[in-house]
Symmetry: C2
Subunit: 269 residues, 2 copies
């Protein structure tokens, strides 16, 4: 019996999100179909994060267990080739397995995750460029980044983040989470946010991003953030930024390693 941990990159544009759903094209569904064929067994994946439709991933993680013949080192190439089949002559599909390693049998990609970093990309223009339309949130006006940073300073820390939770997610025991870093950088003429924390509520990064944009555009005062958090009321926070700007960037299995330097080479997609 082996337990395999995969690292997965995907363009979420043409997927109905991560989670397997009957009759829909999902990342988990596509991966399970291909891995079941490679491993000649019924593969069931446990993913760390259930990303929504349109959300992208640079470093999703997922594990599966089983008895199978294919060497683990061959899985990334073999799975990626099968995933690219039918995707035209250039041999890359919209999901790719970038790494695979064997883990102890008691390791679990979701329960053992100690934190995650999400990136959110914002671009500017009268209309979205046809090339960036699925990969950034387009704004007509440029928000004030210093106001956004002042507001972000109130979000970093241990808080009950119920005000940043959308309805419709999995019920949670607690809405207290730790945001260890919230960086905002001006890169390539746009704005990229990097949010790192020990866990995230449903749509939390998209609501934090929308709230920070509302602060940067003068609709919310940065010093109102502590009251908004204290209210625990979603109505008091800002709008929900759309899914296509969001990237699941990195997952951490060691709580000492929660950091993601927001340099151009890490933020450019």
């Amino acid at each position: 019996m082996k337990n395999v941990l995969l690292t997965i990159e995907y363009d979420g544009t043409d997927f109905s999100g991560w989670q397997r759903q009957p009759g829909k094209r999902t990342v988990q569904g596509e991966l399970e179909r291909v891995l079941s064929r490679l491993c000649r067994m019924d593969v069931k994946l446990s993913g760390t994060s259930r990303t929504d439709a349109g959300v992208h991933a640079l470093g999703q993680r997922a594990c599966f267990t089983g008895e199978f013949a294919i060497p683990i080192a061959n899985i990334p190439r073999a799975a990626s080739d099968l995933l690219a089949a039918g995707m035209g002559p250039y041999k890359t599909g919209d999901v790719r397995v970038t790494a695979a390693r064997e883990m102890p049998l008691d390791f679990h990609a979701r329960f053992d995750a100690k934190g995650k970093t999400y990136l959110y990309k914002i671009a500017f223009g009268d209309a979205p460029s046809v090339f960036a339309r699925n990969y950034s949130y387009f704004l007509k006006a440029r928000p004030d980044v210093e106001l956004m940073r002042a507001a972000a300073g109130h979000i970093v820390g241990i808080h009950d983040f119920k005000c940043f939770e959308a309805a419709g997610g999995t019920p949670r025991e607690t809405t207290v989470r730790t945001i260890t870093a919230l960086e905002i950088a001006e890169i390539d003429g746009g704005i990229t946010l990097a949010v790192t924390g020990d866990g995230f509520l449903y749509n939390m990064v998209r609501i934090i991003t929308g709230t920070l944009i509302d602060v940067g555009c003068g609709r919310i005062h940065p010093d109102a953030i502590p009251q908004i958090i204290a209210s625990r009321d979603r109505q008091n926070a800002g709008h929900t930024a759309p899914p296509q700007g969001l990237y699941l960037a990195k997952i951490y299995f060691d709580s000492q390693q929660l950091k993601f330097p927001l340099r151009a080479e890490n933020a450019v997609v």
Copy 2:
């Protein structure tokens, strides 16, 4: 009677090229469908360049004539909105009309074009990133840019470029063309070529790009280029670079203005 010149941006990934074809989704076909509805007449477009399937455009141009009621200034927004219909909630499709202006009745977008600039994007990596797979040509090894520039120096000028013409294009009176500039820049960790000339043969930019890559990888000596051109034989040139790295960047109607500074802001897509 009015004659309208449009500027058009498109992501060529999901199109069977520019030219209208029965039963296929083409850029010309989509634009004619939408413009016919807006103008309440049967619009026939004359495009400057017939780009192939998978090739992108930042500044394609096309004109049409007719009697219609919609103000020309309203065409870009109205056409782009119709083109985005059914493309999801974010209101941008994969083709967009970025400008429209009235021209004299004897103006023609193809016959009056004095030159064009194409960009070609090359990226590096063991496997294409899922995000760049449709927008760059991925190479595993990095070609020597100085060798490529030495070869490019032999291509700039007035030559019979039959060696860089693929079979299957429209028959031409002459295969002599003028390449006014061929710049090669290292941008964003990749290589971008900008090729400007008074006209291009079928697949000419893709064959020039493939030949320059073959030079940069040591398969062709840069000083062999003059003999390759003199041979007028496609067999002697290099491989054809794939369509997804190619962008029709700009079209010129004034032969004094053929220039395209290859700065990061012009080359990044």
